[in-house]
Symmetry: C2
Subunit: 256 residues, 2 copies
């Protein structure tokens, strides 16, 4: 068995330049599954093959597949349903709706927001934007500004920057035609699945234009949230700068 294991590791090394050189089998399986997800072999919301099928496909035991899938489920790339199967995570599931929207009301339960796109322009990447998106300065970028309202109270202005090479044909009308979350639309229209994000949070005085768009007094404090979102393989595909009014809502977080 040991020789067999080594052999498969060697094969993995030869066949894939991105796979880690010497790694446990289950991590190799993980990498292969992510590769298939990235390639769109299974779409968000669809089921992936059963553990037994995957074990046969990769020539490993079911337990090894299980460990790989367990970790991908823990990372929210997949989710399991006992008796049904294992599915590709999607932002269209109501269950996941507040995973990336961390605003909760001071009183009561979180509610979905109403979204209105105010602007959608094509621009060239600034140095900062290019660095965040790992593209070249001057590359095409789609710039959106949108407003989120809760119970008709404008609460968030997001300035969103997307690589033009990936988000071709994105328009304000297309955006405003959707009711669900933005990331759900990215999945169905562009095949881009957001998997993870890093945020930098600060308190700032409301910039003039944003105060106007929110209908609040300029110079009141706003939460400024700078987000970089990543798809499979830690590839950044969104830069987002949000300004939140935090009198009736707060940004919730858990430390573990």
């Amino acid at each position: 068995m040991s020789d067999n294991l080594r052999a498969r590791i060697a094969v993995a090394e030869l066949s894939s330049s991105t796979a880690a050189a010497f790694s446990p089998l289950y991590q190799q399986i993980k990498a292969l599954l992510v590769k298939s997800l990235d390639a769109g072999e299974w779409k968000p919301g669809e089921s992936i093959p059963s553990e037994i099928e995957l074990a046969a496909r990769f020539q490993v035991s079911q337990g090894t597949v299980r460990k790989a899938v367990d970790e991908l489920a823990a990372e929210n790339l997949l989710f399991r349903r006992q008796g049904k199967g294992t599915f590709v995570a999607t932002h269209l599931e109501p269950r996941v709706r507040f995973r990336f929207l961390r605003l909760a009301p001071n009183e009561g339960e979180p509610e979905p927001a109403q979204s209105l796109v105010l602007e959608c322009r094509r621009i060239r990447a600034s140095a900062d934007t290019a660095r965040a998106l790992e593209i070249k300065s001057g590359d095409p970028v789609v710039a959106l500004r949108r407003k989120l309202s809760f119970a008709n109270i404008p609460t968030v202005i997001d300035d969103i920057y997307l690589p033009g090479a990936i988000f071709k044909g994105l328009t304000a009308d297309l955006l405003n035609g959707y009711s669900g979350p933005l990331y759900g639309m990215f999945e169905t229209e562009f095949g881009i699945n957001m998997v993870r994000a890093d945020e930098k949070i600060r308190a700032v005085v409301a910039p003039q234009d944003i105060a106007v768009a929110l209908g609040v007094t300029p110079s009141i404090p706003l939460l400024c949230v700078e987000r970089i979102s990543y798809t499979y393989g830690n590839r950044p595909v969104e830069l987002r700068i949000g300004h939140y009014v935090t009198d009736e809502y707060y940004y919730r977080n858990s430390l573990n």
Copy 2:
């Protein structure tokens, strides 16, 4: 084996009122391990018995113990060191120093903060404090105010409220005698290990007294972070209201 399993579940039901009624064996093991941690059978930084010893103690297979320990390690109650053993998580480990301190500088690497306790009083719990700490209104509470500075620049004022019943004998001198993180001192002096926390984050105008303590202009925006920290078994043991200056530092977060 099946009868044996059931029997042990039945025993668990009888012997422990807090354990979930019907749960997998590994979850029962988890609960027992947490109980031992809570009781102080193994102190932070110490090793717990090996998997083989635990398997013998609980009369289950090593694989079942492994699954229980894996989950506790994922929840940061324990950490594993291959070849050495499994240890109780501690806030004194440098590795963990920034798990609960989420401020990072705009430029450069995170650095430890200098802490100075400005006040330490005994008060009676307000209604809000009592609710957060799950004690009775009017119960004794230790109230601290402390200042955190980075590179001699005051950056954070924390107002901290602790249940008086647990933190007996806590004084400003005791606090200022320690150089490490507050939660590390709580472990060694009071046997309280912080395991998890929930935070509510808002942008606010700097209150007068806090602006003075920080040496900043009143009315500038500050990040207001309201934290409730929990020890083993989700028991709240700290309410903390922090005000952060976020011009040179930001609150970092990751969404998964």
